[in-house]
């Protein structure tokens, strides 16, 4: 009888522990106390997060984490990375193993509503696209009826593909592989006419071909994949810091502030928007981080354009055009609320 009482007591307390909302409002304090940001990233995705020769993590998703560290500590290197697989990522965030999930994660309604996490913004507007052999002479995805399509298994990519071809009453034959490497090898070997994946990755896959010029990326994008960082739900303080770290980079590009001219702008700019952004004119933003956190981010990490070009754009091997990721003033979708 006693054993049973003890057992049920243990069960009840375990349930009680599980029911406590995760770290309500405590992440920022915990991060400051331990002295670094624990950031969940992809274990290897070209341009988004991958370790370089020296073991230093590089990529757009990595730079988001660096920006948050710059905002909180004034030091972009105070980040520790946890490489995560697609399956592990949400648990790692929910269980408190990481502070930010910055791992090319698509913002969807079910993830916002059902997973206990909140997306703070959009670092990259992605969408599923097609890579075809140039010699096929296809200019539009609507001409792909009857094609064999190489696709990675177990991803939303596979479902989107079926949706798109079904919607346009076209026939296709999927050839399913487990990894991106296998997909591109079989595309190269001619086992399929078309390769489909998120557009950001199509460029990376294309540059893996022996002759990258032999294939083209079609203009159609068949799905919306807004990728952004996420934090635990209910921790508004931390949510705001992560959200405004990204906004600071976008606003900096909007105002023409770069990592190279930021010091000069800080001392001589007459533009009140720039002055507020860089903390010259102190605004009581109430985020809990220093008044000039945006200045630190821009100086140590760069503005959005610099981050984009260095990791996936012209300054990288991927050479992805800004497209939807251009600023709202240049026909794109990147837009950040003002600093005031």
């Amino acid at each position: 009888m006693k054993v049973r009482t003890l057992l049920s007591a243990i069960c009840v307390s375990a349930l009680a522990l599980a029911a406590v909302p995760a770290h309500a409002g405590a992440t920022f304090e915990a991060v400051k106390k331990k002295g670094f940001v624990q950031c969940g990233v992809n274990s290897g995705l070209p341009g988004f997060s991958a370790p370089d020769e020296k073991g230093v993590w590089k990529g757009i998703d990595v730079d988001v984490c660096r920006a948050v560290a710059a905002a909180v500590f004034g030091d972009a290197n105070k980040v520790k990375y946890t490489p995560l697989t697609a399956k592990e990522r949400f648990t790692a965030l929910q269980s408190g193993e990481i502070d930010i999930l910055s791992r090319n994660t698509t913002w969807t309604v079910t993830r916002d509503g059902g997973l206990g996490i909140s997306f703070t913004g959009i670092t990259y507007y992605d969408g599923q696209g097609f890579l075809v052999k140039k010699k096929l002479g296809v200019k539009s995805a609507l001409k792909l009826s009857g094609a064999t399509v190489c696709v990675q298994s177990g991803t939303t990519t596979e479902l989107n593909l079926a949706d798109y071809f079904g919607l346009h009453k076209m026939k296709f034959k999927p050839v399913v592989y487990d990894t991106a490497d296998e997909t591109v090898k079989s595309f190269e070997a001619g086992r399929c006419d078309v390769l489909t994946s998120d557009q950001s990755q199509l460029y990376a896959l294309r540059s893996k071909l022996a002759k990258p010029d032999s294939a083209v990326v079609l203009p159609e994008i068949i799905s919306k994949e807004p990728l952004g960082p996420a934090v635990r739900q209910g921790d508004v303080e931390w949510f705001n810091i992560v959200r405004w770290s990204l906004f600071a980079m976008i606003d900096a590009e909007d105002l023409g502030v770069t990592s190279t001219n930021v010091d000069q702008m800080k001392s001589s700019s007459k533009n009140p928007d720039v002055k507020r952004l860089l903390g010259v004119d102190v605004i009581k933003h109430g985020l809990g981080v220093p008044d000039d956190f945006a200045y630190k981010i821009i100086r140590l990490v760069g503005n959005y354009s610099e981050v984009f070009e260095r990791n996936v754009g012209a300054g990288s091997a991927l050479k992805i055009a800004r497209g939807q990721n251009a600023l709202w003033t240049k026909g794109g979708l990147q837009y950040a609320p003002p600093f005031r």
Partner: protein, 366 residues
């Protein structure tokens, strides 16, 4: 009676001796064998020359960036540039001597065990099993004696593969022996039931599930803020998993010992533990050396599964290197390199087991 002069012995016909004779006897002694030989030669012709051309003749060996590679053949520059990472993972360069020291110590302890007439073998073995792990742990983790602390998340590459494999092997063998003995303990039904349950539970799930449970599910059951090391979780999972397999291998050996041996040991007045340790186990383990090494080789290769919980072992660090934008498109080189390294280790283990079998062979071979 005229004596017939003795003729000198003729040499065997030229077609039956030397290389030609060997070829006729072994490769073309029947039409079927001849056809198979030709087919095999043709297949080798299809595979080997292009591979040699790719891997050696047209390969690029020196350089520092992807631009130094012509892409006509293999680009070994990729491996060269990343070699440090493939071996040490993210272990800080200034601290890598600690990994080297651990390996050197291991070699220094293991090599004397191979020398036939080394007097202190048993002591050395004990030191290797008891003292060495403690020393190696403190050396690798650090945090004491002026050594900087290196978190396990920085470990990686081949050294992580070795850590997981060695810990798995060292923990699995004794645990497996105990489980096997427990499973055969018919006079202790509770213990037996526990051992059977443990073995069947762990053998019934794939390793990938064990790793996944340890890394994804376990944090949910732990109280807030209690987060114990990811590598430790993986190590415990691997060790328990392999122990279950090892138990069944050892049980096979125990079943191969004739009943007379147990009875003879009992007749000499040996109790359970002494008869087991002195009479039964030495014979049983010798019988199942191939099975034990088989499990070890499988374990060594299974270490690559830790990739799914975000630990970068040898294969993991190669795959991570494949997604560096400066080095896109060299995955083949990476995988060939990984295959070579895995092969060297597994082949080494297999040769060692054969050597051990010959050494311990005492005329009981069946």
């Amino acid at each position: 009676m005229a004596a017939v002069p003795r003729q000198p012995d003729l040499p065997p016909p030229a077609a039956a001796t030397g290389a030609l004779g060997w070829v006729r006897r072994n490769l073309f002694d029947s039409p079927l064998n001849g056809a198979l030989t030709l087919l095999a030669v043709y297949l080798l012709y299809l595979v080997v020359p292009p591979f040699v051309e790719w891997a050696i003749l047209k390969a690029d060996w020196s350089g520092t960036t992807a631009k130094d590679c012509s892409r006509a053949g293999a680009c070994w520059v990729f491996i060269g540039v990343r070699l440090n990472q493939f071996f040490y993972g993210f272990y800080p360069v200034a601290e890598q001597w600690r990994v080297n020291t651990c390996l050197a110590l291991l070699v220094a302890f293991v090599v004397p065990l191979f020398i036939k007439r080394f007097a202190l073998k048993q002591w050395l073995g004990a030191v290797l099993l008891v003292v060495y792990p403690v020393v190696a742990f403190h050396l690798l983790v650090g945090g004491h004696f002026g050594l900087a602390h290196v978190e396990t998340s920085k470990w990686g590459g081949l050294s992580l593969t070795l850590v997981i494999a060695i810990v798995g092997m060292v923990a699995a063998l004794p645990l497996g022996i105990l489980l096997a003995l427990g499973r055969r303990a018919t006079n202790m039904p509770v213990l037996k039931a526990l051992c059977v349950a443990f073995i069947e539970l762990w053998r019934g799930v794939p390793l990938i599930t064990v790793l996944f449970m340890s890394s994804v599910m376990l944090p949910f059951f732990l109280p807030e803020g209690m987060n114990f090391d990811k590598l430790l979780r993986a190590l415990i999972g691997v060790a328990l998993f392999e122990a279950a397999y090892m138990a069944e291998v050892v049980r096979g050996g125990l079943q191969g010992i004739p009943k007379g041996q147990f009875e003879a040991a009992a007749a000499l007045g040996l109790g359970f533990w002494r008869s087991t340790i002195l009479v039964i186990l030495p014979q049983a383990l010798k019988l199942v050396i191939p099975g034990i090494v088989n499990t070890f080789i499988a374990l060594f290769k299974d270490t690559s599964l830790v990739l799914i919980i975000g630990l970068f072992d040898l294969l993991g660090s190669i795959q991570a290197a494949n997604s560096d934008t400066n080095w896109l498109g060299f995955s083949t080189e990476g995988y060939v390199f990984a295959a070579c390294v895995y092969w060297v280790f597994c082949f080494g283990m297999s040769r060692y087991s054969q050597w051990l079998e010959r050494k311990l062979h005492t005329g009981h071979r069946r």
